[in-house]
Symmetry: C2
């Protein structure tokens, strides 16, 4: 008998790699944070002696979900302004609020609530872009979540940095500290082509290559930015990035609702990744990402919620569902983005975009034990003809029962293991009271 | 002090009528199944003495949600076939399964699970169309749910009736028994213009007028039915129904994804209602209902989930969210279908379409006490700047805590009061085992 850390037995296991696989009555064997074995339950109990075991009789295990686009620090701005188009929403609500309230504590307290929301809904890793990134990195590490933290760069001053130079300085300083944070990786996060000029973009291209880290950017999010870029630079935003050497396998192009055939060919040719945010795109009326066409072109597509200010949640189970439903109607083909592909977008595809597919994104032997368990024994999820379809089309965030990262349990039967949730909520309420909410309530009170 | 049945005090009350109203720290006073008063909590305790009181400190009360399009008897077919277009899905999966399994017991046991799912997610009334409608009526009445039960008519034989004449006979017989079911109303439910010929449609037009009950029909659901109708009848389906006198305020036109300007003008002119089913339309790739245009034309729009075989849930909170998000991107206007309007679609608009807006659909004095309470004190719903936006954009089915119909409590702090849920689930599992599920699992098992 081999002595190991944990055995998780489950009615179903969907490892995502290999494709189209549903294992019945299998067990995951975890040791020193990694998946040591994946075998039938009966064999596992003969072969291994474990310190801790979980018997999940009505559950399915999947790779921990990866949210490819978040602004975790914005969690205190959930519902701050709804039913507004992107530019009105940004310029008249979100940016002024950030200017007024943005600070390390605001971002840390918002990120803590975001971490709780993500863990509770089965997310184990997130790719973030926001001011005061050190606060979000700290919270992710302390709550046991894996994160890629964007080193934000934008031409205008914010409470975080006054000049472009300061964004780089602070970002690179922060990058140097990430050695202390084993769960944290870095990316570059230039905000958008219309908020970052050529010089900093070129510098990011060089640094991204040198440090071998991804580049996230809001790109072709709305129609307006295309003619604006053509007028200013004579190029579509994607073409402009390409000219600066940014369109390559390190690029995570976020949103991409406005795409012509050349754009798609360029993305495919250069091996760039697209981060699809269906709910945020719908809520801000930004446009429809042509997901089926991108799949056909062989482009790697991942899934993100965007922030709770434009979604309004961080629920990747709901996001998979929205992505699968919407893609069918946009393509006019009910076979587009089947459940199995939606799950890949939120797991292995995201790992690949983040350059982490050798360590996370699937339940394969040798990978880190980032795992989500979903209980399918609910009124709303029965009967289960196919657990993958049940996850995507019927299950909800509250059906997530257990979450592990590196084999550490973060959610145990719906209970938080690494977050003092009462204290987190209290911190949020103190902010809310301070932020004078009446101002943003449009409805009449009798 | 006046003696009354119940007082429900809540942090927020959104009565829906009047529009744009959020009441803080108010109480609903319930007596003999009706709303007797709506007043500040402090006044309620002075004025009334009640047998039962509820203090919902972090909750919002809304009118019970109305699902305008269900096939409750299909709940055992959730996930039976996914990622298929409408006609393939119907002809190769759903119709054969119905032919094999359809019977009173199948529909009753499915409807019981549907009732549980609806109650658990805040629905108090549903508008159903299915075979063996007596089974669904019985279940609704026994579980305390309000329902409008469709008297189905279709040209082809089913396990329920062999000839068109038999559909009418059985339907009208059933209609006569509804006096025994105080919570049940009737409607006519011709399946679709491509499955019901002129003769029965004309008879339905006459009977609907005579009995003063609504007519539900799947209409302009997919593109294909339009040229097919033009070829067969020389008319678009809606024009054909109009010719037979069916386009009037009794018509609930379900789906309506294919609409030209004439269609919209006709619907508006005749006062017909549109039942929008955004999730089912997306899942079957049926097309986009132009909701914003319908709103602009003054058409009354309600919301339905369709069955769990094409959704795959009966969650009206999720459906409001999908409707609000999708409408913005379809219209290109982020102000389309704001949260407040999404809530109206699922409450007062639906009551109006069902001809019941004098008794349900809003929390007004004199109306029946059909009420849903949603707990907004969750990680995923904080902070609450505007409770209506929080309901639509952030809350989920599991946040529904209490449900009342006619003042009778059906869900009390998430516990079912009228359903033996263990037994309901067991019945479902017996069916599932009988139905040989392997057949419909497309994925490989190792």
């Amino acid at each position: 008998m081999e002595h190991i850390d944990e055995i998780i037995s489950s009615r179903w296991i969907v490892p995502v790699v290999p494709d189209q696989t549903i294992l019945h009555d299998y067990a995951l064997v975890i040791h020193q944070g990694k998946i040591l074995d994946l075998l039938p339950q009966a064999d596992a109990t003969k072969k291994y002696q474990c310190r801790q075991s979980y018997h999940l009789q009505e559950h399915v295990l999947i790779p921990g979900l990866i949210n490819s686009h978040t602004h975790a620090g914005m969690n205190l701005l959930r519902g701050y302004a709804d039913d507004k188009p992107l530019m009105d929403w940004l310029q008249n609500y979100i940016w002024p609020a950030e200017q007024k309230w943005g600070c390390d504590e605001f971002v840390a307290d918002g990120s803590l609530l975001a971490a709780a929301e993500m863990i509770q809904s089965g997310t184990t890793c997130f790719n973030d872009m926001y001011f005061f990134p050190e606060a979000t990195a700290r919270i992710a590490q302390n709550t046991g979540l894996r994160a890629t933290i964007g080193l934000i760069v934008v031409d205008f001053p914010s409470n975080w940095a006054s000049t472009t130079e300061e964004y780089f300085e602070k970002g690179l300083q922060l990058y140097d500290t990430f050695g202390q944070y084993p769960l944290i990786n870095a990316s570059f996060a230039p905000h958008a082509p219309y908020t970052v000029s050529d010089e900093p973009l070129k510098r990011i291209a060089a640094l991204s290559h040198e440090l071998n880290i991804p580049v996230n950017i809001h790109l072709h999010e709305t129609l307006d930015e295309i003619p604006q870029s053509q007028q200013q630079y004579g190029l579509r935003p994607l073409e402009r990035l390409d000219k600066m050497g940014l369109v390559n396998p390190s690029l995570m192009a976020i949103h991409m609702t406005q795409l012509n055939a050349n754009d798609i060919a360029l993305l495919a040719d250069k091996g760039a990744h697209v981060v699809h945010c269906p709910e945020s795109n719908m809520k801000l009326a930004s446009g429809f990402c042509p997901v089926a066409k991108l799949v056909d072109a062989g482009i790697n597509i991942t899934l993100g919620t965007d922030s709770v200010a434009s979604n309004n949640d961080l629920d990747m189970i709901g996001e998979m569902r929205s992505a699968a439903l919407l893609a069918k109607n946009v393509s006019g083909n009910a076979e587009s983005v089947p459940a199995e592909y939606a799950l890949r977008m939120a797991t292995i595809n995201a790992a690949r975009a983040l350059g982490m597919d050798s360590t996370i994104g699937s339940l394969e032997i040798g990978k880190q034990a980032d795992i989500t368990a979903i209980d399918l024994n609910n009124i709303a999820t029965q009967p289960v003809y196919n657990p993958i379809a049940t996850i995507v089309y019927s299950s909800r965030a509250e059906h997530v029962s257990h979450v592990w990262v590196n084999g550490q349990i973060l959610l145990n039967n719906r209970e938080f293991c690494t977050i003092d949730i009462e204290s987190a909520i209290k911190k949020g309420q103190i902010w809310f009271d301070r932020m004078n909410p009446e101002k943003s309530i449009p409805a009449t009170q009798i």
